[in-house]
Each structure stands twice: as structure tokens, then as C-alpha cells.
Symmetry: C2
Subunit: 327 residues, 2 copies
């Protein structure tokens, strides 16, 4: 399977690294507009031996050069911003996957863009899937899978606690590291902080369960440092922000509830992922060591990419797939 | 969705109970050959108010009386024994699900029977799915789902530890409760003891991962009581069997391994379900309280039944489905 990497950021680099270690997948082209990357060999950017793939800024040219390749798209979280890129991918006749968070379930918040991409994909007989680990797996798809062992569900609670000290800089920044509580509040009010995709997870989970959400509330509160915290990228003094608790409460029309509880903080002492289902009988399942988001996003998205050739055409979500095949 | 219950044993009774508590499902017919049940109202057998459904021994008559109903088949573990019943279900034009353990992945051990049923289902444009929780979910489908977050997998270990004291009599019997170690060995050698479906789980998991099993070893050892154990059905003195450790080791052609470790014993002190994946990165996930097999089998099978109208025709396994919809 030939792959074009559309975006050589943190996720794109990990995708490239994973593909070089996997059988049956190879990178044939790479696209990025970052001047520090354009013209360089992809291997060089990874800090390894050359791979014979030069990063290019002209997406159209790369897409046209490899008409039979599949696209791994990972550039931005916003569907509005990713939209012209995905149009281009489909218009040049490619199928692929994207880690754009808002694509994980675009049908509620961006129904017009979703419909337009779905229609274009069908016209071109191509398949494009929004995927990833969060959104796309841990707080939506996985809880839906687990729910099958119980019945008459009243509430699903998903907890994801992440030690952000072990994560990359953009993640440490998006949780508000180093801000004052007041700055945090302002930036949350302007939605320039927080996790993109939590609301999409609630809608995707509801869709997978056959529920219809009629009310949804989203909150984001800072977590403050009690002692000085030092990471590779931030120094946080006591009283300043070391992370966030980002939550979504959703209710379906029969009164059933979804509660997504995402805490990402520097030096989080209890990282883990957990699903609790209040049903008959109640069910609890936990990843005691948690799941590392960056690795898992790449792995899930590549596992989904391997299914793409067998999927129907259109704009798909995890709800439309048979199981992904691990790379 | 109208449902015919084909088999009113322990599972069938739980299915009936669940359906009466669920929206959108109703039982229209019930089949069993047990003289103590035939002619009785299903509600009476459940120890509840009458449901207006009489248990009948003439399967053909019930199947013909409700041509648009879906069938929940739960009679025996052996596909050879279930085969004529499933033929009859398909020949009378019904789709449905079955908890017959050997149907969870019949393609390796019973390829001829599987092919014949698949062909018949396709001729009749009907869908029939082998499902359940073990086999069908906990030791095969669920580990495959979890594996998507990692990559380059070397080994998957699935542990299921069950406190059989909390389970029904047939399960306490099939794990050898009350036998001497010698009797246990004889009965295992004759395969009249042990869990049916562990080998199917290994093949189903391998299939879901895209692996090809080239070697497989199955063992079953007794667990002995150290003190007297008393259940509703058995008294086990010290030195006698209180359960079993049933294991399957499988290797795929690239050297990757599957290890299924099933321990079911009276008074098991640490019941739980766990999946450990040796991959990049390693992943561990656990149901700390375990999953109750009888409830979960019913719930998973009904969740799958709700998908049946949307599925392609043929004899299917969990590998062929989009996610089940919880009841």
C-alpha cells in the first residue's frame, strides 16, 4: 500500500516512523508547507537515514504524481481549515484517512461540510475516514464496544487521565500550561484552549449506541500547580495552570447520559483510561497504565487505513467500519 | 423486531427475560423439546406472569407460523448437533443469531458444515451469525479491538478468571466440579469436559488480526480444592476438582503468538478479564470485576441480533459485523 503523507507535523512524523517499521506499507510522497521541512528528505526530518522521499509544498503536484497512493492526512484539528485540503485529496482521486479531530463525527457540528465531502467522495468513488484515538477510539468507539456486554444502559462514563509531562509541546500548550487561572478562563472563553473532539466523541458514541442527544454541556476548568513543575517546554510555578479538566455531559431523549471526563495535566499522578457503564449488569474496564495518545492515534489511523480499500465510498467515521486491522 | 426463541434452556430463559425488559423486541414463538417445558407459557417457565407464548416442540410449525420473525438460536455447543436446526431455520426463510459455540468461527474445524450453511443462507438471502461472549467477544473480538491502539504485535495474552460458584449448574459441571483428578483427566481425554470455543476464539482473533495460525496447542488441567467447597449444586472435598485451567497457545506463520488462559473454578478468589498485548507500545486492559458470562452472552447476542437486518446474507461471524448495538 503506497501512502502519501499530507502533513509532516508531530503526527505525520510518527506515521512515517511507524510505516518504515511495518510490512506492506510504504511512503511515496510527503506534503508540508513548513519552510524548515520543504525540500528535505523525510528521513532527515526524522533524524534517520534518508528515505528517498522529499517533502514538497505543492500538494497538487504530489497528489497527481501518485494517483494510486492512499493519503494519510494529519494537519489541523478544525474541519473548516482542513476542508480545502480534503477536497483536493478527493478531487485528485485519492482515498485515505484523516486525524482532523472534527472529522471524527462531523455530522452534527459541520453537517454542510460533511455532506459536501461525502457527496464528492461518492462521485469520485473514493473513501475518506475521520479517525484517531481521541476522538475516534478511547472515548467513543471503545466504550461502544464495551457496552455490548451489558443492556438497558442508563449512563456511560469515560475517564481519560493523561500525564501531559510525557507528551509533546503542542499538547502541553493546549491544556494551558503556565497560564494564570484568569488567562486560562479568557482563552477557554475564546476557545483557543482545550481539547478538540470531546463533543464529537459524545456524538459518535451516541450514534454508535443508537441514542439521540438532546442536551449537551461542555466545561473546561484549570488544574493548578501546588509546587514548581519543570518539563522540557514549560516551567509552571505554584498557583499557575498545569493542566485542565475538560468535560462533556450529554443526555439523550430517553434520559440516558454520557459523561466524558478528560483530565490532562503536567505531572498527573494517576494516568489511566476507564469506562464505566451503568447498565444491567454494571461494567467497568480500565487501561491501568493509560494509552499514549500520540502513538495510539497513529496506530489506530493506520489500522483503519488498511481497511480503506474494502470500504464503501463516501465520508466515513469509525461507526461505519468493521474492525480496524492493527499494523 | 419479532423473535422466535429456538431453545428455552438457561440462555434462552435469560434471553426471554431480557427481551421483556427491552424496547423494540418481542417474543412471538418459543421452541424446546424438554417435556417439562412443552405446552407451558414462557412466562410460567420464567416464574413470572404469563407472556402469551406457549413453548412448542414442533419447530417447523413455529417457524412457519411467524415467517417474518428473527430467530435466537441457543441449544447446543456442537455445530454438528446444531446443524439440522440451523438448516431448518434458514430453509423456513429466517435470519438470526446463534450462541452455538462452534459457530463463533466454524471455518477451520467445520469448513464443510460452514460452507453448506453459508451457501444455503445466500440462496435464501438470509443472515445467520454465530455470536456470544466467550467465544465471540471477550477472548477474541475485544482483544482485536484493543490491539488497534498498538502496532507490530508479538503476542496477545487473554486471561479470563471466572468464579464458577456464581454460575449455573451446567457450567459447574463442565469444569469438572467434584471429580477426582484421574476422572478429570479421563473426561478431558474423551473431551466430555472443558470449555467449548477456546480454539474457535484463537482462530477468530487471528482472523480479525489478519494472522494465519500454523500451530496450536490446547491443554486442560484440573484445579483442586484445598478445603471443602459447597455450592448450590456441588460439594467438593479437599483433593477433588473445583475447576479447570483451559489454555490455547497458537502461533502464526510469522511467529506471532496468541495465548488464551481461561481459569474457571469454584470459589475463584480473583475473577477478572484481562488483555495484554506485547506490541509497540505494550497495552494492558482489564475488567477488574470480570464479566458475567451468562448475562453478557445474552446481551452481546441480542445486540448482534439488532444488526442482523442490515447485514449481508450468509453465515457470518463477529468478524463480519459493524459494532453491535447494545439492547
Amino acid at each position: 500500500m503506497d501512502v502519501i503523507l499530507y502533513g509532516v507535523g508531530e503526527i505525520g512524523k510518527r506515521v512515517a516512523d511507524r510505516i518504515t517499521k511495518s510490512e506492506g506499507l510504504q511512503i511515496v510522497g510527503a506534503i508540508d508547507i513548513d519552510p524548515s521541512k520543504v525540500g528535505k528528505d523525510l528521513g532527515e526530518i526524522l533524524g534517520r537515514e534518508p528515505l528517498g522521499v522529499t517533502v514538497e509544498s505543492d500538494a497538487q503536484k504530489v497528489l497527481e504524481a501518485y494517483p494510486h497512493a492512499f493519503v494519510f492526512h494529519g494537519t489541523v484539528s478544525s474541519l473548516e481549515k482542513a476542508y480545502p485540503q480534503i477536497r483536493q485529496i478527493l478531487e485528485t482521486g485519492h482515498s485515505g484517512v484523516s486525524t482532523t479531530e472534527e472529522l471524527s463525527y462531523p455530522w452534527v457540528r459541520h453537517p454542510d461540510l460533511a455532506k459536501a465531502l461525502d457527496q464528492l467522495a461518492k462521485e469520485k468513488d473514493r473513501t475518506f475516514v475521520g479517525t484517531g484515538v481521541n476522538p475516534g477510539f478511547l472515548m467513543d468507539y471503545f466504550p461502544a464496544v464495551v457496552s455490548a456486554v451489558t443492556a438497558n444502559i442508563e449512563k456511560i462514563t469515560v475517564r481519560r487521565y493523561v500525564n501531559a509531562s510525557l507528551r509533546r509541546k503542542p499538547l502541553q500548550a493546549k491544556i494551558g500550561s503556565g497560564l494564570t487561572p484568569e488567562e486560562f478562563k479568557k482563552r477557554w472563553d475564546a476557545r483557543t484552549l482545550g481539547h478538540v473532539g470531546l463533543v464529537e466523541s459524545a456524538y459518535l458514541l451516541a450514534h454508535l449506541l443508537g441514542w439521540e442527544i438532546v442536551g449537551l454541556k461542555e466545561t473546561c476548568e484549570p488544574v493548578l500547580a501546588e509546587k514548581t513543575i519543570q518539563t522540557d517546554y514549560f516551567t509552571v510555578e505554584p498557583g499557575y495552570v498545569r493542566g485542565m479538566v475538560h468535560r462533556v455531559f450529554a443526555k439523550d431523549k430517553k434520559g440516558r447520559e454520557i459523561f466524558l471526563d478528560l483530565c490532562m495535566a503536567l505531572d498527573h499522578e494517576n494516568p489511566m483510561d476507564e469506562v464505566e457503564v451503568q447498565g444491567d449488569p454494571p461494567i467497568r474496564v480500565r487501561f491501568p497504565e493509560g494509552v499514549h495518545g500520540d502513538y495510539a492515534t497513529v496506530n489506530v489511523a493506520l489500522a483503519v487505513l488498511k481497511r480503506v480499500p474494502d470500504l464503501p465510498s463516501g465520508l466515513l467515521t469509525m461507526a461505519d467500519l468493521p474492525l480496524p486491522i492493527p499494523v
